[in-house]
């Protein structure tokens, strides 16, 4: 018996499968359905050709044994046809239901897929916010450093003033000593008394200035602290406002995505 199937059958199989695969790649369920039918028929013919060349009906009394066609592929095709029939009916029902629900039978993208894909947008937003926060923090650090430098300069100035004062006091004491040494005993008492007066006045003056300087310093420090605190509060407020803005934008984004998932708007491109 000739085992080779006809060339025509092979060509028909090729055409059917090609057309079937092309239609299967469409988005419309009806076209996919047609593709499935064509593809199924192509494969059925492939099974038929697998049985070899045509022969007589495989009945014992009718055909001599050598000329029978192979009955098994035909049985298999019958099964495959029944299955394709059922699935075709099911696909038709699904296409109809799809049309009933949304007015067309196109297969849409998965909403969750789209949501996770657009998660990239949210990530970009987060990155932008993070960069802003970083810039803010840098500015604060710079301001604080400037402030500290100012305080330090003030401190140095005060230190210098105090040194001058100390120098003056020392000078006065040295003068006194010189005069005491130069004068006799009678004068000494007077000088001491006078010097005491002068010195006390100078000392009082110096003490007063030191006190003033200290007060000024304390004032300064308090002002600095106040300033710093205000600066920090401002920073916090700015960060909070930015976070709020961020959250609002994320919420808006989510709502947009939720809307995108809405069945009525599914398939609308943004």
């Amino acid at each position: 018996m000739n085992d080779t199937p006809t060339l025509l059958l092979v060509i028909v199989i090729g055409v059917l499968v090609t057309a079937g695969v092309t239609l299967l790649l469409e988005r419309s369920l009806t076209r996919i359905l047609l593709g499935v039918v064509l593809l199924g028929n192509g494969v059925n013919l492939l099974i038929l050709s697998a049985g070899g060349a045509a022969g007589g009906p495989p009945l014992l009394s009718l055909t001599p044994e050598g000329e029978m066609a192979d009955p098994l592929p035909q049985a298999m095709i019958l099964t495959a046809i029944v299955i394709t029939l059922g699935v075709t009916a099911f696909l038709l029902a699904m296409a109809y239901r799809s049309w009933q629900l949304q007015g067309n039978d196109e297969v849409q993208d998965d909403a969750e897929d789209r949501r996770i894909a657009t998660g990239g947008e949210r990530r970009r937003l987060r990155q932008y916010i993070r960069a802003q926060k970083r810039a803010l923090r840098q500015a604060i650090r710079a301001q604080r450093m400037e402030l500290e430098a100012q305080i330090e300069a003030q401190d140095e100035l005060e230190e210098a003033e105090r040194a001058i004062l100390r120098e003056q006091i020392a000078q006065a004491r040295r003068d006194l000593d010189e005069r005491l040494e130069a004068a006799d005993d009678k004068d000494r008492e007077r000088i001491i008394f006078q010097a005491d007066h002068a010195q006390a006045a100078a000392l009082d003056e110096a003490k007063r200035r030191v006190r003033e300087a200290r007060k000024e310093l304390a004032e300064h420090r308090r002002a600095d602290r106040e300033y710093e605190r205000r600066l920090r509060r401002e920073l916090r407020q700015r960060i909070r406002a930015q976070k709020r803005q961020l959250r609002a934008s994320i919420r808006a984004e989510r709502e947009r995505l939720a809307r995108a998932e809405d069945s009525d708007m599914q398939g609308v491109d943004y």
Binding site: V36, L39, A50, M94, D110, E112, S263, D264
Partner: protein, 547 residues
């Protein structure tokens, strides 16, 4: 006893089919009777599976020539160790899911129309799965696939809501494509060998030229890889599974992909046992499946989708074991399949309970569950840790077995896969912990929990009297829907049947750990049987494989 064993082999296929027919005849007239029939049918299947498990272990593979047609003309049903194990585990799972869905149906008051279709279809699905596991005939395997796929189309699009029709379209088209590829492979194999009996093919395929063998093997594996969701062909799974009702997703995730894995095991051991370039290809595919799947899971914010991606990723472990093409690799793969069916199903059922408690399965909305519902915490924690492979649970043992097999193989590629497997396990733990932190440990206020007892009106539900776009707390199409497509009613008391079924499956997962010793021995012997082939061929071919 031994003489009776062959009579048990067709039962897992016949009993659910008969029960389904009976249920269609009864219709909606007696819901209680309906439910009883389903449960009894599946209990019978489970008992049969158990009997086969022990019988096959003691007396070797059991064979039935359907209709009394002799080999190689008729259709052969064969139960060897692998088949018996798969039938037993799958029927235990389907029984659990059936009880769960009965509970859910009662809770959602959907006894009428949708459920009258749901239960028989579910039974037909079980029949298809059993048929795929037990058949010794390539074309009958195709028929088994079609039975389970067609009923899965119906289950997936139950209720006909927009989201389900969309997800169902992807699923149906991809499944159809894989069926067509499978049919092409069958046609080519028949043209090359003149038979579709698997034992007969095992002898005849070896006589073909190597290139032709490789072509046939590649086409067959392509078809099965789509069904098993192996990496380049896995994109359809996370897209379509999460929208189905919780019990349906659970049984799909647990079983349907594993049927594909089972078919790959059969192809690689029985039909094409020679080492070839395909094994290397499978190992690369396994690596890509594991790593890319788990990266997908890390990005998800929906519990069901995250679990779907983890499912894809863990298919990689099984393919890893198969690709090693050694007894140890195969034994690891068999054990992992059995373990993974149980754990994955349980987790999806727990996700269903989360939906019932919180009205959503999105991590944006779910929070504070550890405080609100500690029971749910325990039910989630055990299988989740099992999935991540924390010792001493069975997930750890399965992964350890596979890693040992990889080290034993010793090739650089095997070591690369061992590294990939460890990394995937770690990343699974990361995903699970992230889920746990969000859903269970976060303060309850941080999410957006829905008030208890509210009906999440889905705007696409046409049967409702409310106008579309009514005040919806969760975007339309995202609200969890029950079996019939109606929105789930949230409550803080779980229906006892749902809770009981979940607890039972969690305990089954724990039992895999407790009885890990005998199970690993059993899967090792199954692997020896698979790689040796002689007992299978001797059982099916009269006069033995020497013929």
């Amino acid at each position: 006893m031994e003489a009776l064993l062959p009579y048990l082999v067709p039962l897992p296929v016949v009993v659910p089919l008969l029960a389904a027919g009976l249920k269609f005849a009864i219709g909606v007239r007696s819901p209680l009777l309906n439910q009883m029939i389903s449960v009894v049918a599946l209990v019978v299947v489970l008992a049969t599976g158990g009997a086969l498990l022990f019988g096959v272990h003691a007396y070797g593979p059991q064979v039935v020539q359907v209709g009394g047609w002799e080999f190689p003309i008729g259709i052969t049903l064969v139960a060897d160790r692998l088949s018996a194990l798969m039938v037993t585990v799958s029927s235990a799972i389907t029984l659990g899911v059936l009880v769960y869905s009965i509970g859910q149906g009662i809770a959602d008051q959907e006894e009428a129309t949708p459920l009258a279709i749901f239960y028989p279809t579910f039974l037909i699905l079980v029949a298809g799965v059993s048929n795929a596991f037990l058949t010794g005939d390539l074309f009958n395997l195709y028929v088994g696939f079609e039975i389970l796929l067609t009923s899965s189309y119906v289950l997936m699009t139950q209720g006909g809501t927009l989201a389900r029709i969309r997800a169902g379209s992807t699923y149906v088209v991809v499944s159809l494509l894989s069926s067509v590829v499978f049919l092409i492979a069958i046609a080519l194999i028949y043209a090359a060998t003149g038979t579709v009996n698997m034992a007969h093919l095992a002898l005849r395929l070896a006589e073909l030229p190597t290139e032709l063998q490789l072509t046939l093997q590649a086409i067959l594996l392509m078809a099965f890889a789509i069904k098993a969701a192996v990496f380049p062909l896995s994109a359809w799974l996370p897209d379509s599974y999460p929208t189905a009702p919780a019990p349906v997703t659970a049984v799909f995730a647990g079983l349907l992909t594993k049927v594909g894995v089972y078919a790959i095991i059969r192809t690689q051991t029985l039909l094409f046992p020679e080492d070839s370039v395909v094994d290397t290809l499978l190992l690369w595919a396994a690596l890509a499946t594991m790593v890319i799947g788990i990266f997908g899971a890390m990005a998800q914010t929906d519990i069901k989708r995250m679990l779907s991606f983890i499912l894809v990723s863990h298919i990689g472990y099984m393919v890893f074991g198969i690709g090693l093409a050694s007894v140890h690799g195969m034994s690891g793969a068999v054990f992992y399949v059995a373990h993974h069916i149980t754990v994955q199903t349980t987790l999806f059922l727990v996700a269903g309970l989360v939906e019932r408690r919180c009205g959503s399965s999105s991590l944006n909305n779910v929070s504070g569950l550890a405080k609100i519902s500690p029971v749910l915490g325990v039910l989630f924690f055990i299988p989740a840790m099992n999935l991540a492979g924390i010792p001493p649970l069975s997930g750890f043992l399965g992964k350890l077995g596979l890693i040992q097999a990889g080290v034993q193989d010793g090739s650089p590629l095997a070591y690369l896969l061992v590294g990939g497997a460890v990394a995937t396990s770690l990343l699974t733990l990361y995903s699970i912990v992230r889920l746990w932190n969000y859903a269970f440990w976060r303060a309850p206020e941080e999410g957006r929990p829905v008030a208890l007892g509210t009906l999440l009106e889905s705007s696409e539900d046409e049967s409702s009297d409310l106008p579309n776009g009514n005040a919806v707390p969760i975007p339309a199409g995202r609200a969890p829907t029950g079996i019939g497509g109606k929105a789930v009613v949230t409550s803080d008391v779980f229906p006892p049947l749902m809770l009981g079924a979940t607890v039972a499956l969690v305990l089954l997962g724990v039992a895999f750990t407790v009885f890990a010793g005998p199970l690993i021995n059993y899967s090792y012997e199954a692997a020896v049987e698979l790689t040796a082939r002689t007992s299978y061929l001797n059982a099916v071919i009269p006069g033995g494989a020497a013929q």
